[in-house]
Subunit: 479 residues, 2 copies
């Protein structure tokens, strides 16, 4: 009955491959209602997988109502399966929101498979997160009978917004608590702006490559992208004016501080030029400050928002990159009417962010833990950066070029010989290495890899870089 | 200079009225750049408000870059204000997402004004939330060095999904953890389904009135509503078949357990009929179980999902109505491929819900606190329900009719004489009472009020009902 086998090297989990295979058999009519399914032991042997994989796959089919267990024992294709495959199937391709790129979907799942070396991932290693302090804060909260357990006001916890207001002041941003909206991560801020401020068919300018190409918030809202080339000081000014006029752009998106994925820090001079050029064009700016606190070499440059005299800049921040992604807390800073509009959509999306997360974050900022933590974190990131750069020196000289980032997480590796990203991704996965290839951040890119020194341990970094260099050397020579 | 005064009875906060007034003066050119703004003391006197209101309003204008303080003292309209009013203004009406109804916006803000009696609000009184137990759980977590502070997998915490899987089994729903998606409240589940499964232009059938009319997730995604009439056993079956054919409906939405806003419990017989009729039509169902655990009189009826043999029902649940809205945790249960599609959009919306909230919720369910809490809560809600019904008996006999809900929060008051909802809302607000008028749940309704016995304290309930009866009696006599 079963000559098919799941592909052990595919990024798709084994149980999904198996349930997809069986679904196909059933809906094609190959296995009509009543067909007996082989016992689980037998399926394990046939597919070469362990019991829990088979159980999960069968569970999915039974949730779909396609198979059913029988009292007497055994499982068979259920009568309801006749003509039922159409049920949800047609809905999965519907809906106005785009699916993630297949590679991003695979990464989102594979990041939770144990044993893989995550060489390009966008978060700090768990060991760099302030677990002790967070436990201490929970301990304090467990003694103070003032837990906020109800719905929160539209802008989010006032206590947290006050704490953020002081925090922002230290980066040169003056923001009243009524000009701050708490979001579930900076990502949600992007999502709210996409559906709240930009009409379908409008265009935003952004660096190319950019983090924004790897998500679909804007595209799903019908917003178009126009990518601007960069040099080592940031986006090119000449491109801004030219493209703004050509596309009648509605907004400029930028990550001036330790750009994702290139690691580029926009220079002070370039920041001024961006502000001037966009002022002349009356072009609003969306500044993504996700990594701005993570400077490693010299104290931070003023964010664009700090240079903004006109209320023309919306500024995004997050606790994800420096403190804890799991808290899911970010913020949007901007003129109060804009913030109110975004808050109104947030109320329609999820009625606000977790009040528990907000309380913990407020205590974290009020308690002065943040600065101390950042100082320690910078030290760790500096030595991790040094380690990665040294590994690259040893194993990638002659294969690629790279920048030395002044902060953030990323080294943008530029291969001397372009390689098909999908093949590279699969080959690395077979070697136990999870990659973020350049095409995620610029569809036409076939040359770059985003490497991170923030996640993998030093031994993992070493093993991963060596494996990667071998794969690339092998292929480059083939060409 | 100022003869205008803010309206003390408006639902719009005073500071917003003042900043809107000044914004209008500036953008109309009445106050050109350089115009001196009166000192704060003076503004307080002129507007009849206190200092902090003025400070907040000026803060908003200064965040917009419209006014600026001068070293020498005093504040003036800034030079940048010339021609700047167009900046964000045009963006506020853009964006594909609808704004909330003005009345809902007002309610969302006013719920945080102290002193108002919230007579129709959709949450438990803070005193009914399990604060002690939550503090105890935080205390436990503060001693276990296993805090999940990183990004979470797409479906949400496996630990929480396992706990929910057992919890759901007790209501008759068999759901593998891989068939459960954790969301930030049931509201987010609705949002994800709206943009993830339904193409623009499709139609959903739903009870009329319904909670769904008060939010804009579906309308913003271009989905149309077709309301079905109800009787005291739930939606009318004849209407389902007729309207499904006429509108080629893509889905049926229902709140069978203690419907919001009417409080109706769909009968066991009606549930079977709904399942049969929709099976014949091959019509998927979205079941909203937000209130289903809150039965007060007799043990719960099986949710539609428990009657579902074909994987045709998506089921929504939440901890908001029984445990804590602030945790922002809900779930969607359905066939794995559908759940995966929704999880993918969730990853694009906010990368998952707070891991801290999820951990607390998992402990809450694992620890067996949930059932004990519900038993106690049901007792409290029963006596609150009795109190409200008695107050209605005394003060509304002759003015209105109402149902006796068998669970949930709401009594659906039907006035003998229709009254314009907006006027009623304002009059009640002047008397210190915040209302949820029927038009929020059915645009054409001018006769109903959603009353809740779950929030206001007994003295507040009494004062609120008396005030409301007076207003209504007064007007009904006028007619
Ligand atoms: C540039 C940038 N912005 C925003 C985000 C969103 O992060 P979060 O939603 O966790 O704050 C990320 C995360 O990768 C990022 O790299
Ligand atoms: C019927 C119904 N569904 C869903 C929700 C959403 O609640 P939450 O997002 O807090 O779970 C509500 C809240 O009012 C409701 O009444």
């Amino acid at each position: 009955m079963h000559r098919w086998k799941p592909n052990l090297n595919s990024p798709v989990p084994l149980h999904r491959q198996i349930s997809a295979y069986m679904l196909e058999r059933i809906s094609s009519g190959d296995w009509p209602p009543g067909t007996q399914i082989a016992p689980q032991r037998e399926l394990c042997r046939l597919f070469g997988v362990n019991r829990s994989t088979v159980v999960t796959a069968l569970g999915q089919l039974s949730a779909l109502g396609l198979i059913e267990g029988r009292r007497g024992g055994g499982t068979r294709v259920s009568p309801a399966a006749a003509g039922q495959s159409g049920g949800w199937h047609s809905y999965l391709e519907e809906g106005s929101h785009y699916p993630n790129l297949p590679a991003v979907q695979a990464i989102n799942r594979l990041e939770f498979e144990p044993g893989l070396i995550r060489l390009g991932t966008g978060e700090l290693a768990p060991g760099l997160l302030p677990e002790q302090t967070m436990m201490q804060i929970l301990g304090e909260l467990s003694c103070q009978p003032q837990l906020p357990l109800s719905y929160e006001e539209p802008l989010g916890s006032l206590r947290l917004r006050k704490a953020l207001s002081s925090q922002l002041a230290s980066s040169g941003i003056q923001a009243d608590p009524s000009s701050i909206l708490i979001t579930s991560g900076a990502l949600q801020g992007l999502q709210l702006i996409a559906v709240g401020l930009l009409p379908r068919g409008s265009t935003i300018l952004l660096e190319k490559p950019s983090y924004l190409y790897s998500i679909h918030s804007f595209q799903s809202a019908g917003v178009k992208f126009c990518g601007l080339p960069m040099d080592e000081e940031g986006m090119l000014i000449s491109a801004i004016s030219a493209e703004a006029a050509r596309t009648r752009a509605a907004m400029l998106y930028s990550i001036p501080g330790f750009h994702n994925p290139t690691g580029v820090l926009m220079s002070a001079q370039r920041r001024l030029e961006v502000m001037e050029t966009t002022a002349a064009l009356d072009l609003p700016i969306l500044e993504d400050g996700a990594y701005q606190e993570l400077w490693l070499d010299s104290p931070p440059l003023p964010p664009l928002k700090a240079l903004d005299q006109e209320g023309r800049v919306l500024h995004l921040g997050t606790l994800s990159k420096s403190v804890s992604p799991g808290l899911r807390l970010g913020w949007v800073v901007g003129p109060a009417p804009v913030i109110d509009r975004l808050a109104d959509i947030k109320m329609q999306s999820d009625y606000g962010s977790s009040t528990l997360s907000q309380l913990v974050a407020a205590r974290w900022l009020e308690g002065g833990y943040h600065e101390a933590h950042l100082t320690k974190l910078r030290g760790e990131l500096r030595s991790r950066r040094a380690a990665l750069l040294e590994l690259l020196q040893v194993h990638f000289a002659g294969l690629a070029a790279w920048n030395i980032p002044a902060g953030g997480f990323y080294v943008w590796l530029s291969l001397h010989t372009p390689l098909p990203p999908h093949r590279l991704f699969k080959a690395a996965l077979q070697a136990g290495v999870l990659l973020n290839t350049g095409d995620l951040y610029d569809r036409s890119d076939g040359r770059h890899l985003r490497l991170s020194y923030a996640y993998a341990s030093l031994p993992e970094l070493k093993a991963g870089i060596v494996a990667l260099a071998n794969i690339i050397r092998h292929w480059s020579n083939d060409k």
